[in-house]
């Protein structure tokens, strides 16, 4: 089995591991680093549950091989969470009841984070378009859209 050494930063920490070439970034995060906040929902890049930030841009952790991440900066939901309490975005999700089972939530937060970094005041349609690559089976998206709107307003203050 082909293995390779990979060095990257995850949530600000240097990580160096020898991994099998076939292991995905999701495998690395969840199994090797114990960062189980990244969820795997379809393993074919459609559902968006495993969405993380790679060098600030969203990426599917199920579609990237761990060895591709040499030199990258990866941020997961654990890295988006402040040491105490919740971020403005997370708190908006909580207040708007933008999650039910919570399985899509980490990926949804990563996508919303990217959106708000690029567009401080997105319209509802822009929000819907931005999160269209993240499936949620519970909420019907209504409250997720509301939460992202609320977070945008709060972050603008």
């Amino acid at each position: 089995m082909t293995v390779a050494r990979v060095r990257l930063r995850v949530n600000g920490h240097a990580v160096e591991r020898t991994v099998a070439a076939r292991r995905s970034l999701a495998d690395l995060l969840r199994e090797d680093l114990g960062l189980t906040g990244t969820h795997v929902g379809c393993e074919h890049g459609v559902c968006g549950a495993c969405t993380v930030l790679v060098d600030g841009r969203t990426a599917r952790a199920c579609l990237l091989l761990a060895v591709q991440l040499e030199g990258a900066e990866v941020t997961t939901v654990e890295g988006l969470t402040p040491p105490e309490g919740l971020s403005v975005l997370q708190e908006s999700f909580r207040e708007c009841h933008a999650l039910q089972c919570g399985f899509c939530t980490p990926g949804m937060l990563a996508t919303a984070h990217e959106l708000l970094a690029e567009n401080a005041a997105p319209t509802r349609d822009e929000i819907r378009a931005a999160i269209a690559g993240n499936l949620c089976m519970c909420t019907g998206y209504v409250n997720i859209v509301r939460a992202i709107e609320l977070a945008a307003r709060r972050l603008a203050r």
């Binding site: 997961t76 919740l86 009841h97 039910q100 269209a132 089976m137 519970c138 019907g140 998206y141």
Partner: protein, 791 residues
């Protein structure tokens, strides 16, 4: 008392879920844990002539292998919820025959999933293909290939149930509307797939399971039977569950893990991949329904005849469920006095059917609401007006339908009127006329529904002829800990419904505390949670049974606290109240004791208890909903117990070029009785409605004639995305149920039941110029495009 119940409280569980600190099944790791993979049949129907798994054991990293023959030697057949007429042996792996593409025939446990999957490739299976049977109507025919030759037929149930003077109703009618409707296979597809970990303790001959199974009571019974061990030596624990919607249960997979764990001497984890989930876990039945609706020319609906063919796939655990549940909403909200229901439950060589948000009711509602819409067209009546002429009136509640369902409360006409008002129905009819004049295809659809909650298992006596289980019940525990804080647990494992919050609200009210003082266990643990065979997360039952269990347990603790406080304060129990964390004498400031002090008495200073009072402050309570009854002598059946209701108004626009249907607005007015937490209720309505919209426009498990699933990934089995659906607009009425402890009713399934019918009517209305009749779903752009071009 201004209570916590009824407040739109943000959820307690969210802080951990938002921080990525939830603990779902695949996050649970046991020391030495192996990973299982399953070899699945590529054929829809075949005899297994040979299976050679001898090479597997030699592969580095492989620790155990299990074949169908092994399963038959090491375990007993799986006990069904609803037994078939002739007992059929069905093990956790296929033994001599496969009956759907994707049925597991062998399993391997290895150091990781990839090694296990690689090892499967060395297993040689010799299949002798048999003809597939995909169409349920074809499966009914005597010359059809049989899934179980021992049964002599594919039909698991056929019966005609008649209630009221059906012949008379049709004889008196001015007309009869006859239509055939079809429903496709679809599923709610929770984002987390199904899975389990099994750990075997050889010293105790005991098994522990971690699983996201949503119905642990039934599963534990099956595990004990199949493994041949006492239930006392089984422990089942549910972690956070990433959605379920009825789909999440497959005791067979737990058995595979258990047998592999026993062989390997190490814990074994199995988690479905999405292909396995979509192709082999659970689909809602597809089916065909012939509807005859007898009416008078003024629109009064007199009688209903239904012939219903439910395609079970290879479902031996809970066949007939989709049929029988339809008796709960067969007349929907209408005063139809005579009903005949002919049911077929039929096996085909497809994925097992099973519970899916609403079980059968979305199809029943689709058929009746489509019939009503078509009748309105025929009689040139406004579809809203036709409904208003036929509703069961508020004054008639509780109202018993011909098949025996009891509508407990509600004002169906008021629900629809509120929806029309919120939607601005009159205004949109005018705007629609203008849009049509401009050549735009704008359509308005209405659908209304009853939403039953709680299942009465006694109803299955109609099919099996004997009563194995009955009623609707759940169990709960409330314990005031020695520090004065509360721990509660429920036999119903939450799958996203926010029980940690709602149960805390309920208990806080009963004990005069705040929800922050009440910790609700995240899941189910059969070793510590009180539970029943009936325990689980299904059938919209939280408000019907679970609330009663929680309230009962909390009140037992409250009563005991008051007795201890009365003794300590030398006051009468009747003069005391629990409030602000104290037991205190009403109207006498300063005369009270904190709960912490009473807990000290109950747990530590037990000589301070009233004479005869046992120590401790823990209560377990099981609540049985009083509405459940045995089967009636006249075959009337109360298959479900408490009824919410809803009205949906949908506005669509169709793109003439592409056939794309765009939902511009979707208004829901619903009435689920007293809302325990309106924030959570509204979220359920949004989500449930979008499940219905997905079924209406996108989702279909499509099989080819050989029984191969063509839509087996999320690339071709399409779920609604945020860009596909509008903001669901929600309003509510609140008619509490007199038959639940806090007046609450079911809410989880409501949106999914009428939404497909509302969309179908809106599309039909948009295409009025073409005189199209929508008889099936999903309404894909291709179908609309063909209608638009007359093809």
């Amino acid at each position: 008392m201004t209570g916590w119940v009824g407040r739109p409280l943000a959820r307690k569980e969210d802080a951990r879920l938002l921080a990525g600190r939830g603990r779902y099944l695949d996050d649970v790791c046991r020391p030495g844990q192996l990973h299982a993979a399953m070899l699945r049949s590529p054929h829809a129907h075949a005899r297994i002539a040979g299976l050679d798994a001898r090479e597997v054991a030699a592969i580095p990293g492989v620790h155990a292998v299990l074949t169908g023959a092994d399963a038959a030697a090491l375990s007993h057949p799986i006990r069904p919820l609803i037994p078939t007429a002739v007992p059929l042996d069905d093990w956790c792996l296929a033994v001599d025959r496969v009956r759907y593409a994707g049925e597991p025939v062998a399993a391997v446990a290895a150091v990781d999933r990839a090694t296990a999957e690689d090892a499967l490739e060395t297993i040689r299976v010799e299949y002798e293909p048999l003809p597939a049977v995909v169409d349920p109507e074809a499966a009914l025919r005597p010359d059809s290939p049989l899934l179980y030759p021992a049964l002599g037929t594919n039909v698991l149930w056929h019966d005609v149930l008649a209630y009221g003077d059906v012949a008379g109703a049709f004889a008196r009618a001015d007309g009869v509307l006859r239509e055939r409707f079809e429903i496709q296979r679809y599923a709610s597809t929770p984002l987390e797939t199904f899975g389990a970990i099994a750990e075997y303790d050889a010293g105790l001959d005991a098994y522990t399971f971690w699983t996201n199974d949503q119905r642990p009571g039934l599963t534990l019974a099956i595990l004990a039977d199949s493994l041949g061990v006492p239930q006392s030596r089984l422990r089942l624990i549910t972690p956070d569950i990433g959605g379920a919607f009825g789909n999440k249960r497959r005791p067979a997979y737990l058995l595979v893990c258990a047998l592999l764990a026993r062989r390997a001497g190490r814990p074994v984890k199995y988690v479905e991949d999405r292909l396995e989930n979509l192709g082999a876990l659970m689909h809602a039945c597809n089916g065909v329904m012939d509807v005859e609706l007898a009416y008078r020319s003024d629109g009064t609906m007199l009688g209903l005849r239904v012939r219903d063919v439910a395609d079970e796939g290879k479902n031996l655990i809970s066949p007939t469920q989709h049929n029988l549940i339809k008796l709960g909403n067969i007349v929907n909200g209408y005063r139809i006095g005579a009903v005949s229901y002919e049911a077929y439950s039929v096996l085909t060589t497809k994925c097992p059917s099973g519970a899916n948000r609403g079980i059968g009711k979305p199809f029943m509602c689709f058929a009746v609401e489509r019939a009503v819409a078509l009748l309105a067209r025929r009689l040139r009546l406004d579809p809203a007006e036709l409904r208003l002429r036929n509703y069961v009136a508020r004054e008639e509640m509780p109202y018993t339908t011909p098949p025996g369902a009891q509508y407990d409360s509600g004002d169906y006409a008021a629900t629809l009127r509120r929806a029309l008002e919120r939607f601005d129905y009159r205004g949109w009819r005018e705007r629609q006329a203008h849009a049509r004049a401009e050549g735009r295809l704008l359509g308005i659809g209405i659908a209304t529904s009853v939403e039953p909650a709680g299942t009465n298992l006694a109803s299955y006596e109609l099919i099996t002829g004997r009563r194995a289980a009955s009623g609707s019940a759940e169990a709960a525990m409330v314990r005031l800990e020695p520090d004065g804080r509360v721990r509660a647990a429920l036999g119903d494992p939450a799958c996203g419904q926010g029980y940690e919050t709602v149960v805390a609200q309920i208990v806080a009210d009963e004990l005069g505390l705040t929800p922050a003082d009440v910790h609700v266990e995240r899941g189910f643990d059969s070793a510590t949670t009180p539970w029943l065979y009936l325990s689980g997360n299904y059938s919209n039952k939280f408000s019907v049974t679970d609330v009663g269990a929680v309230v009962g347990a909390a009140r037992a603790v409250r009563d005991k606290l008051l007795r201890i406080a009365a003794h300590r304060l030398e006051a009468a129990v009747d003069d005391l109240e629990l409030a602000e964390g104290q037991a205190r004498v009403r109207g006498v400031p300063g005369r009270g004791l904190p709960l912490r002090e009473l807990a000290r008495t109950a747990y530590a200073d037990v000589l301070g208890l009233p004479p005869g009072e046992p120590p401790g402050l823990e209560a377990r309570h099981a609540h049985q909903n009083p509405l459940a009854q045995p089967l009636g002598a006249d075959r009337t059946v109360r298959s479900q117990l408490v009824f919410s209701n809803a009205a949906h108004c949908c506005l669509v626009e169709i793109d003439r070029l592409t056939g794309m249907v765009r939902i511009l607005r979707h208004v829901v007015v619903h009435d689920c009785g007293r809302e325990l937490n309106p924030l959570i209720v509204e979220g359920m309505v949004h989500g449930s409605t979008v499940h219905g919209l997905g079924a209406a426009l996108l989702e279909e498990f499509r099989y080819d004639a050989n029984g191969q699933l063509l839509t087996s990934t999320f690339m071709d089995y399409l779920k609604p995305t945020a860009a596909d659906v509008p903001d669901i607009e929600v309003d509510r009425l609140e008619h509490p149920s007199p038959f639940t402890p806090l007046g609450a009713k079911g809410v989880g399934e409501g949106g999914s039941i009428p939404a497909p019918a509302a969309v179908a009517s809106a599309v039909e209305d948009a295409l009025a110029e073409l005189d199209v009749t929508v008889r099936s779903l999903p309404i894909t752009p291709e179908r609309v495009w063909r209608w638009l071009r007359g093809r």
